[in-house]
């Protein structure tokens, strides 16, 4: 594989990420990992939904959740998913600058989302809804916090790859790494779709 690591031609089928065997392995391996992550989040969702009414006299979801804030966070994360896919388009056309631009936007949107989430958590703690206050609190922070941790990891990961891409350009070695990080970012968005539906909206429905 090393023989053609540094070639700079667009791949025949338009997919640089699976142009080498290493790339094929990485992309498949990452999809398998996402399958495992699905089960992981399902267990957290199950736990939350089973325990969400156990507030022990503390504030309920209906009382706490602010739909405007959640809608804003959702819009930000959805948009970042789009910018991430645009970055992958640029990558497969070997447009380094365009790709870096869209990746940068993705990271910034991710940061924005994270700031909103931290603000939200601080607000909840002031309302008396903490990790230790009740089973509802524990399971809420475990689920949403795990998602937040994934977002944080994604931001660090994509930033790292931007640095590497700036140094090395778009190669058959970089492409699968970038593609896989984009898959990860979309997956985070998929999980969020269920969080806003089954945590926030369901909390409001009661």
């Amino acid at each position: 594989m090393a023989a053609h690591t540094h070639e700079n031609t667009a791949p025949q089928n338009g997919h640089l990420e699976t142009a080498s065997l290493d790339g094929k392995n990485k992309v498949l391996g990452f999809w398998l990992f996402l399958g495992a992550e699905t089960v992981l989040f399902a267990c957290l969702f199950g736990t939350y939904l089973a325990l969400r009414n156990q507030t022990m006299g503390g504030p309920t979801g209906e009382h706490l959740f602010d739909l405007k804030l959640v809608a804003l966070a959702t819009a930000i994360l959805l948009t970042s998913s789009l910018t991430s896919v645009l970055a992958m388009h640029a990558m497969n056309q070997l447009k380094l600058k365009t790709m870096q631009f869209w990746l940068g936007v993705t990271v910034l949107l991710g940061l924005g989302f994270l700031v909103l989430e931290i603000y939200e958590f601080i607000h909840y703690v002031h309302e008396g809804h903490t990790f230790m206050s009740s089973a509802f609190g524990s399971s809420f922070y475990a689920l949403v916090g795990t998602h937040g941790a994934h977002v944080t990891f994604g931001i660090v990961w994509i930033s790292t790859l931007m640095l590497q891409a700036a140094k090395r350009g778009i190669t058959t070695e970089m492409a699968p790494k970038l593609f896989v990080s984009s898959l990860y970012w979309h997956f985070i968005d998929v999980v969020w779709v269920f969080i806003f539906t089954l945590v926030y909206l369901l909390g409001k429905v009661g």
Partner: protein
Amino acid sequence: MAGHNQQSTTNQPASRKPEGVMKHLISFAIMIVLTALAFYLVATDVVPEGWVLPLIIIFAAIQVFLQLFTFMHLDQKGSGYYTLFIMAGILIAVVSAVGIILM
């Protein structure tokens, strides 16, 4: 591994048409609409209360499939294994989550 060195030497012009950007924009638009609709249903009383939950779950499911098949490229050729394993994961995930919630 070794048989691999022969291929991928064909030169392709770097200026290829941006295929699929439109597709992604459309699916993004649908996602935004579905999300807005879900929030709208919950914030107002336009549908009976019992209908809200099933509806927003259906909206979420549609969004997930859009993400998987357009943004994450499962609609492309050679994605059979990816689809197989992610679907197996989703099946086991749903069974487990429903089990924990109901029992």
